[in-house]
Each structure stands twice: as structure tokens, then as C-alpha cells.
């Protein structure tokens, strides 16, 4: 079991003929993801890698291939438009990898996504993977392994670091979700925590946050009230200075709000085990899962 994507995911790639889109479409095909269509306006009728049909519009692609999920590799200035198009075509799940979308664009996208009952993951995220079943995005497949730990993170390579620790120590993952480092994102920690809590294939949850905003604090309150499964958490940016954007547009301490201390305190208060360094994930999960199996 898993959340959001699995063996039934039929994926459409928006921007499949672009540099990033083509590279990652190949990687996803190699991993075994069912990539059923690509969309690049003006290139309809082509075949990607000799087998994936390319369409001019998302609506055409959905109608003809039954795609049920889209991943967006379109450049920043056209990315919001690509998300609008995917939502308009009725897709229930859209994953946007693109980094650098103006926040103003996202503030116009989100009401439309919500009004249509769709789920957007990202933008500025590595996507998600259900190991052994479906990889949607750019998370390297070889560092993941199937299992029963769910992982949700605001980061990319830091996620890989933690997943790699898990896999090397024999701890597999149900689904790994990168929710993205932008100030406005479609799916937050709480959405993923709720899905993992309801997923019978997930026994424990790893949550990797960072400085900026209040998403982690609200997620901690949610864990305290509604999550019964063990949660292990990490916050990046304890040494970050105030008022500076640390790479991710959303990773900025504004005034006195959004600090690592504030988030770690919220974690501790909610009974979330705090990782002091990424490598701690193995020991902490081991303890919590060990206690679980003894029950």
C-alpha cells in the first residue's frame, strides 16, 4: 500500500520534449512507471522514445490514453498555465517539479485547483515515489526500497540523504513525498500525514521540515490530535540567519517567526521524536518500530 501514486498510476508528462522533461521521462520509464502520454503544444503526433504518444493538449492526452496523473516539467513562466490546463482537463493529481514560479502565479492557481477538487503536489519539489510501483518526478529510484515507512519532506537532496540512510539500513518506504520548498504549495505536511495515517501500508512516518512559515507547527498540532502512528521529525536550518532566503523561496525566517527552535519545540510538544542529525533517523525509527512490533 501507499499514498497518492501506485501501480495503477497512468502518468502524463507535461513538457516531455524539453530537456528536463525528456531526461526524467526516460528515468521514470526505466523505473517502470506507466508513462502513457506526453504533452508539448505543437508537437502532437510525435512519439517519445518511439513509444509514448505526444499530444498538443492535456485534454486530448487524457481522452485518448486515460491518464490519471500529470507531472509538470514546464519552465517557470509557463508552469502555472500548465497546471491550470491539467486541472481543467479533469486530472485528479498534478505534480509540479518546476522551480522558480512567481508566487503571485501560484496564488491564482490554488483557488482553481481547490474549486475543481484536484490535488497539486509542489511546485519546486522532487515529486514522489512508491518504491517498486511508481516514480513520479525526479527522486532517484535506486536509493529507495519498498517497505512500510512513509516519508514527507520540503526538500530534495536532503530527502535523498534520509531515504538512503533508511534503505541502507534495511528500512523500506511505503511512499516518499517531496512537497516542495516554495511559500505556496498545493499539498502540505498535514495532507500527507492524514494520508499516511489512513494508509494500512504505512507503520511509521518521517517528516523533514525546514525554517520558514508555520506548516511544521500546524502539522505538529495535527500529529498530537490525530496521528496514532509513530512520527520522527527533522528541521533543517538551525544555523540559518534571520531574514535571508536560504535557497528555497519558502526557507526564510521572517521577524521572529519560522525559526528552527520554534518548530523543534512544536515537534517535541507533539510527541514527535526529533532527529538532531539526518543519520539519527535509523535509530529513532528502529526504537519506535521495535516498540510497535513488541506490542
Amino acid at each position: 500500500m501507499s499514498i497518492f501514486v501506485d501501480g495503477r498510476t497512468r502518468l502524463l508528462v507535461q513538457g516531455i520534449t524539453g530537456r528536463e522533461g525528456a531526461f526524467h521521462a526516460r528515468q521514470m520509464l526505466e523505473y517502470g512507471t506507466a508513462v502513457v502520454a506526453g504533452v508539448t503544444p505543437g508537437k502532437g503526433g510525435q512519439k517519445f522514445e518511439g513509444r509514448v504518444p505526444v499530444f498538443n493538449t492535456v485534454a486530448d492526452a487524457v481522452r485518448q490514453t486515460g491518464a490519471n496523473c500529470s507531472v509538470v516539467y514546464v519552465p517557470p513562466m509557463a508552469a502555472a498555465g500548465a497546471i491550470f490546463e491539467a486541472v481543467d482537463a479533469g486530472l485528479p493529481l498534478i505534480v509540479c517539479i518546476t522551480e522558480g514560479i512567481p508566487v503571485m502565479h501560484m496564488s491564482r492557481v490554488m483557488p482553481f485547483v481547490r474549486a475543481h477538487g484536484a490535488r497539486l503536489i509542489g511546485p519546486n519539489c522532487p515529486g514522489l515515489i512508491t518504491p517498486g510501483e511508481s516514480k513520479v518526478g525526479i527522486i532517484p529510484g535506486n536509493i529507495c526500497s519498498p517497505g512500510r515507512v512513509g516519508l514527507v519532506s520540503r526538500s530534495g537532496t536532503l530527502t535523498y540523504e534520509v531515504v538512503n540512510q533508511l534503505t541502507r539500513n534495511g528500512i523500506g518506504q511505503s511512499t516518499c513525498v517531496g512537497i516542495g520548498g516554495d511559500p505556496i504549495i498545493g499539498t502540505d505536511f498535514i495532507d500527507c500525514l492524514r494520508a499516511f495515517e489512513e494508509d494500512p501500508g504505512t507503520d511509521a512516518i518521517v517528516m523533514i521540515g525546514e525554517i520558514g512559515g508555520t506548516d511544521e507547527q500546524r502539522a505538529a498540532a495535527f500529529v498530537k490530535e490525530q496521528v496514532t502512528k509513530p512520527v520522527v521529525g527533522f528541521i533543517a536550518g538551525q544555523t540559518a540567519p534571520k531574514g535571508r532566503r536560504m535557497g528555497h523561496a519558502g526557507a526564510i525566517i521572517s521577524g521572529s517567526s519560522g525559526t528552527a527552535e520554534e518548530k523543534l519545540a512544536a515537534f517535541e510538544q507533539a510527541g514527535i521524536d526529533v532527529m538532531r542529525r539526518p543519520a539519527d533517523v535509523v535509530a529513532l525509527l528502529g526504537q519506535r518500530l521495535g516498540a510497535l512490533s513488541k506490542r
Binding site: 530534495g156 537532496t157 512559515g213 508555520t214 506548516d215 538551525q238 526557507a251
Partner: protein, 379 residues
Amino acid sequence: MNLHEYQARALLKAAGIPMFDGDVASTPTEAESIARRLGGNVVIKAQVHAGGRGKAGGVKLAGNPGEALDHAANILGMRIKGLEVHKVLVVPAADIATESYVGLIMDRETQRPVFMVSSAGGVDIEEVAAQTPEKIVRLPVDPTYGLLPHQALTLAFALYRDFNQVKAAARIMEQLYTVFTGNGCSLAEINPLVTTPAGQVLALDAKIVIDDNELFWRPDLGLLRDDTAEEPSEAAARRANLSFIKLEGDVGCVVNGAGLAMATMDLVKYYGGEPANFLDIGGSSSPEKVINALKIITADSRVKAILFNIFGGITRTDDVANGIVAATRQFKVNVPIVIRLTGTNEVEAIRILEGVGMTALSDMDEAVQRVVKLARKAA
């Protein structure tokens, strides 16, 4: 990207928001002639991206053009929080009846532009928010419809009783919303919005922050960037497409990915070291990026050791290895380098490094411990 006050004023003025006259000066004599034009009684304000200008002596009242000249001479060239003052704003010393706060921010929680207004203006609004949150009126705006007329009036009624002032303020709210959306702002603030004894409503001071993601397609906004107001190493990094922030420590860090870069800095601290910088070389690596990164880091004489922490995904670790080798051939790196790399093409990367007598570790903790020890030994 932060704008200077005089730049923010220009954007508000272009949108039709009523303001006191005023102008920017780069020399004391310019300041003097502006002061003369404004009638002599003026305020001289340092234009730097730092809070607490007043406390640092960067804001002075002048009673006549001569005093304006003297104050400008003192303020120009002064350093406030490490930043040199190159320009001063000269505005009339206004006669003020009331001061309010009007701010518009892109809010993460509601995912919308949110107005915040308060009749307790002219002071630190964060303090008002913390001490007396009831004095701030918040109003989220649905960007699909924009600021609606009744919303603008609601905000204005929160500030004034006199209906003429309410109408004037409502118009300013609409104009500020236009500035915000038209320039891709993440913050647009009038603090204070004042009334004069004669009853006029005017913007006195303005602050604007532009979303960096807008700059790519809005070169007109990019022209507003003031390179001289930045740390030189950060300006150089930006031109090289590197995300870099200078810190105070002695362990230089080169990392791919913002989250991993932050976690690496944290781990340096965890093992008793102090990071010298935040640096994300980004996803798609190239040897040039690595060369530029090393140039920028080694230019800081405080750096005693350098750590590479690369988790190859899209980033190819052999590109990074080639960059390190090319950099050390181009210029002499006088401090020890510790390299941790794992992931895409790591076998090739290790072969490249070993070819020039370098080694690479695969474990992040081990690498950080080693670089901290080396930095301490050199200190």
C-alpha cells in the same frame, strides 16, 4: 529583492498614491539643493537595506539647507550594519496629525495577498502584532477578483472616521493592491500612512520587497537592484547562478540542494564547527559552477577548510569532481578540502579525484567531523 525607500516611493507615486514631495541625493550638495526646493525644513534618511536606521544615526532632521548639507555629508559614506550608505532621501519634515500602518503581504497560510492595517502606525508593526493583535485588521484578497470596493472601504473604515479620509484611504488601498500585483511583490507597505492637520491622507514611508522569481521575466524590476547594497561575495555568487549567503564561521560549504545545504551547516555546528556560508550549487551541475563556488569561498580569508557535500541525483558527481580538479589547476587552494559524494556516477567521480591524489568519503557525518577537525587545527 528589497527595494530602497526612494525606489518604493517611485512605484507608489507612479500608481497615483499621494505622497509628500521629496527626492534622492548622492552628494551633500544635491541634498542641500533638494532641501532648498522643499523649503529648508527636511528629514535626511539613509538609503540602506537595514532596519534601525534611526538608532544608527542614519535619519536626521534639518532646519535649513545648510544643516541638510551637513547631515547628508555625515550620513553619506556611513556604515549601518556593515552596509555603506550611498544615497540619502530628502523629504519635508511633515506636520502630522495621525499615523497608521497599511501593509500587503503574500500570505503562506491563506495562499493569498493579505492586507494588514492598523491605526497604530509609525512603529514596529511586528511589535503591535505581538502585543496588541486586536489593533490589526487582516483581510485576505482573492486574486481571482482582486480587491473589491467594499473591501477597500472596510480597510479604510478601520483607520478613519471622517468619510473624506475614508474615501481617500480606500483609493490608496486599491492603488497599493495594483502596485503589489503589478510588480510581483511579496510585501508592499506604507508605514506610516499619515493625515495632515489639514486632513489630507498621504503616504510618508514605503517598503517594497519583490519576489525573486519575478525578476526572470521582469528585467525592468531587475534594474532596481542595487549591487552596492549587497555583500560583494553574494553579488558575485548571484551573477554565477549560485545561491550563496555569507556567514561568520570558518568552514566553507559547497552543497547541492538547499535543504541538504542547511542540514550540512547544522551538522558542522553539531560537531563543534562554525559554517562560513550557505551555498547551493543547484540541481544541474556543471564544472564551471564548482569553479565559481570555490573562487567565492576561498576569497574569504577566514575560511580554514572546505567541505563538499554532494548527493548525486540530477547532479552528476563526476561533474563536481571535474570542477574540483579544474579549479585546483586554475588557482591555488590554500586550505584543505574534504569531499563527500555519493549517488549518480560516483564511481567515475572517485576515479577522477584519485587521479589527482584526492579522496572522497561517502558518509556525511564522517566528512563533517573531518572538516571541523581540520578547520580547528588551522585556526
